[in-house]
């Protein structure tokens, strides 16, 4: 049994895996939240209402870059029905969360169109909107920059006078928009290129995209006169939300209780705060509950899209397909503040390959766009798109099957990763072999049709986690977790508890508790919940089993060592223990009042040992040469899950990642005008893929156990979005006989490339 206390052992994150025959894990029971969601009863962020609540609205900057000279709220405050107005003056400087503070309410400057300047709480939406118009803001407009390459130039408008590039030695003495530089790799790439028979070098660009969650950001806050606050809202991490919001508002953490609502999509975009501290401040100032919800326009302009990128990739290989050197330089803009995931992009770029000579450089850049947030495997899809496109071209150039090319160079157990550490256990080769053997890889293609392959990688991590299990008097079990359920985790938690305790799935119920009911939990991100919360549930269940055996021993009047737990029952450990009828969990629970009281298990820890994750995607497309429209004919996701707890949910994660990748590859993009303003802040002009755009996404779950989890679980939520950009680009390239180096591959862009290719012939 795992212990929740005591000194951390050496390598506690490894070698916990124990093969076993599962009874509940690996099945596909109904999700506990399913009925509520399909009947509309589930309560999302905007579904919470409190008596007497006010409506909060935000005044946002119309300019992409300007000094905030003055803000006069007097007329707004005098408007009947207005109960509170907040501006930068209501938030004290906060060193720990400086950028977040500046993002949720502009201070000296507005840094992007949509940047919050003030907020109002009023008795109705109409009054709140009217009040916003009465706030007088004087701006001193500054030149702006929204393109990553432009922002890096020496004469670019500078966003932050105190931004000096980290990671450059010596550190520059003049400010720039380059927040940081990072570099990974080993060997000698110049020597490696000299060994190559063929070298391909390309430049790539990808557009910024939004996570596209359907549910806008929304919350309700209330603060009592003695400064106790409650907040309800949609978030991927209510403990982090609580800590950051409390800090920005100036409250003790213990005085703020946050409840996570059901969530209508997050994908990384709801791992930070936007409205919540503002809502709390309005509630504090007004003394009344305040509800806020973003419009779709606000979601696009003022939440956290992903980075856009500009990248150079150079790879060399021998005639027989051995990569001799790989080089990538990736430049990511992540909006107006630090945080573009250039480091992860550089680390993931070549992670699929065992290379003797590899170098990846990442540049983190700021521009006059909304501060980026995480989006599923942040930073990886773009750099992998660039690398996997060149890998595809190399395979074609030497007339080698693209899967064979990848197999020849694939990272295997014990190989040194391109970002440093050795891989301990990974399933990339298994996904490639499954792809090669898949029936979809053999289907003949017709005219204007092409096939693409790409592989991808994501790290996965564990993080701070705790869970509690309570045995009810009737023998059912309640699980409390602190990680919002964004992908079906409540079902998988119940499965793991049922597996350990030996009871049916439907006798276990999991809830996501509020922040006052459980210790700190990191955000639901990093593909970590099934791994880390699940492992906490497993260890808490094992603690319960120990207690159940103690109670049975008490009831039988034998030593606890003489009792063992098997298939949901306490039984004598051997013939010498005595002859007793097995005691079920329900029987022990029913007697608990007389044997020591309630029975509960708990586990808290830093969950290390998350296994890396690899996937390979196959895509068939058809390109209409007259319109440039790309039709996805077939799509197959093959990914290593370590162990699929609930295979349908795992498939759902694979499919969701693929669909978001299809949108990113083909249509989605933030389009900025020369005026620095977003031109397509709505779903009519920002083209998400819909069901009619898609075939059934086929899936293959590969299971190479993660040695760091008792069941072998790896995170599966993020890797699925890493290969699609490249796989689709490779497929389109195959179909149209041209190499698309800029995303999205929207019809006008493809048509232009076709016409250019025709003109060149």
């Amino acid at each position: 049994m795992a212990s929740s206390t005591g000194e951390a052992p050496e390598s506690k994150g490894t070698h916990q895996y124990q093969p076993r025959d599962f009874k509940v894990v690996g099945t596909t029971p109904l999700r506990p939240d399913g009925v509520d969601k399909v009947t509309g009863r589930a309560r999302f962020g905007a579904d919470m209402n409190l008596p007497g609540q006010l409506v909060g609205k935000v005044l946002r900057s119309p300019h992409p870059h300007a000094k905030l000279v003055s803000i006069d709220t007097s007329e707004a405050e005098a408007l009947p029905g207005v109960k509170a107005v907040v501006t930068r003056d209501d938030f004290a400087e906060n060193e720990a969360h400086h950028d977040i503070l500046c993002n949720i309410m502009a201070r000296d400057k507005v840094l992007y169109e949509g940047h919050a300047v003030a907020a109002v709480a009023a008795t109705s939406r109409a009054i709140a909107l009217k009040a916003l118009k009465k706030i007088k803001v004087v701006y001193d407009i500054l030149p702006h920059v929204t393109d990553v390459d432009e922002a890096m130039k020496a004469d670019a408008p500078i966003l932050h006078d105190d931004m000096f590039t980290h990671g450059v030695d010596p550190m520059p003495t003049t400010a720039s928009n380059i927040a940081g530089r990072c570099e990974f790799g080993h060997g000698d790439v110049d020597a490696g290129f000299e060994q190559a028979d063929i070298i391909i070098e390309r430049n790539f660009k990808t557009a910024a995209t939004h996570q596209g969650y359907i549910e806008p950001h929304a919350c309700v806050a209330t603060v009592t006169s003695d400064d106790y606050g409650e907040l309800w809202g949609c978030t991927q991490g209510h403990f982090v939300l609580r800590n950051v919001s409390a800090s920005l508002v100036g409250m003790d953490v213990s005085k703020l209780r946050v409840t996570a609502s059901e969530i209508g999509g997050g994908f990384g975009g709801k791992t930070t705060v936007f409205l919540e501290p503002v809502c709390l401040m309005l509630a504090k100032k007004s003394g009344k509950p305040v509800k806020m919800a973003m419009t779709r326009d606000e979601v696009f302009k003022a939440s956290g899209p992903t980075a856009s990128s500009s990248m150079d990739v150079k790879i060399g290989c021998t005639k027989d397909g051995r990569i001799t050197a790989g080089f990538a330089e990736v430049r990511y803009q992540g909006g107006a503040f630090r945080g573009a995931p250039a480091d992860f992009g550089a680390m993931c770029a070549f992670a699929c390959y065992a290379l003797e000579n590899v170098k990846a450089i990442g540049w983190e850049v700021v521009t006059n766009r909304p501060k980026g947030a995480a989006y599923r495997a942040p930073g990886a899809p773009m750099s992998v798109y660039a690398v996997e496109s060149v890998v595809d071209e190399l395979a074609k150039a030497i007339d080698m099957d693209p899967i064979d090319f990848r197999l020849k160079n694939a990272a295997r157990n014990g190989d040194k990763s391109s970002y440093g550490p050795k891989f301990e256990s990974l399933g990339l080769v298994e996904t490639l072999e499954a792809a090669k053997n898949h029936p979809n890889y053999q289907i003949p293609l017709g005219p204007n049709q092409g096939r693409g392959v790409a592989s991808g990688f994501w790290f996965n991590f564990g993080g701070e986690t705790c869970s509690t299990l309570n045995v009810n008097q009737d023998g059912t079990v309640a699980i409390s977790v602190g990680t919002p359920d964004i992908g079906g985790s409540r079902a998988s938690m119940c499965q793991m508890a049922a597996e350990e305790l030996g009871i049916p799935y439907d006798q276990v119920r999991a809830i996501v508790t509020d922040t006052s009911s459980l210790g700190f939990n990191d955000t639901t991100e990093g593909s970590r919940v099934t791994f880390s919360s699940g492992m906490a549930v497993i260890f808490a269940a094992r603690e319960i089993i120990g207690k159940l055996c103690e109670r049975a021993a008490m009831m039988w009047d034998i030593p606890v060592e003489a009792v063992k737990w098997e298939e949901g029952k306490a039984i004598p450990a051997g013939a010498n223990a005595g002859d007793f009828e097995p005691l079920t969990l329900a029987e022990i629970a029913d007697a608990a009042g007389g044997t020591g009281g309630p029975i509960a298990g708990h586990h808290e820890y830093n969950a290390d040992g998350a296994g890396v994750s690899f996937g390979t995607h196959l895509v068939d497309t058809e390109v209409d040469p007259e319109t440039g429209f790309v039709k996805i004919l077939r799509y197959t996701v093959i990914q290593d899950a370590g162990k699929a707890i609930h295979p349908s949910y795992v498939e759902g994660q694979f499919q969701g990642g693929a669909v978001q990748g299809i949108g990113w590859a083909l249509n989605e993009e933030y389009i900025y005008g020369d005026d620095g303003k977003l031109q397509n802040a709505g779903f009519l002009d920002y083209r998400l893929p819909v069901a009619s755009d898609l075939p059934m996404i086929d899936t293959v779950i590969v299971e190479v156990p993660n040695p760091g989890h008792p069941y072998g679980v790896r995170g599966v939520g993020e890797t699925g979005i890493v290969p699609p950009l490249a796989a689709i680009a490779n497929s389109v390239s195959d179909a149209a006989n041209l190499r698309m180096t800029e995303l999205p591959m929207s019809p006008p862009r493809i048509l232009k490339a076709i016409h250019q290719a025709e003109a060149a012939e």
Binding site: E7, A8, P9, E10, S11, K12, G13, T14, H166, G167, V168, D169, R181, C182, E183, F184, G185, H186, Q211, F267, G268, G269, T271, P341, D343, F344, M347, I361, A373, A374, Y375, R376, A377, P378, Y419, G420, P421, K422, F423, E424, W458, F459, N460, F461, G462, G463, E464, E525, G526, S527, R528, N606, D608, G609, A610, G708, E718
Partner: protein, 81 residues
């Protein structure tokens, strides 16, 4: 003493050494020593780092023991979506 490998620009922060030796029995001692002995490493330590011990990446476990002969890599602190 444990052997520590830093990638890329972090390598320049430790006087361009491919590997450095540090007296550390756990991750906290390792990070403290890096910031103390190599001042250019301090911003990286402050920003947040993860440490790979024999291929297992530790993000938060500061008191994780480091075996004498372990392969140690220092990499950026992992996050996700």
């Amino acid at each position: 003493m444990v052997q520590v490998v830093l990638s890329g620009i972090m390598k320049t922060a430790v006087d361009d050494q491919a590997e450095i030796e540090i007296e550390a029995k756990n991750i906290k001692q390792l990070l403290d020593a890096l910031a103390r002995d190599y001042p250019k490493m301090e911003p990286y330590v402050k920003k947040g780092l993860a440490v790979s011990i024999n291929g297992v990446i530790y993000r938060d476990s500061l008191y994780q023991k480091i075996p004498e002969d372990a392969e140690i890599f220092v990499i950026p602190r992992l996050a996700g979506g």
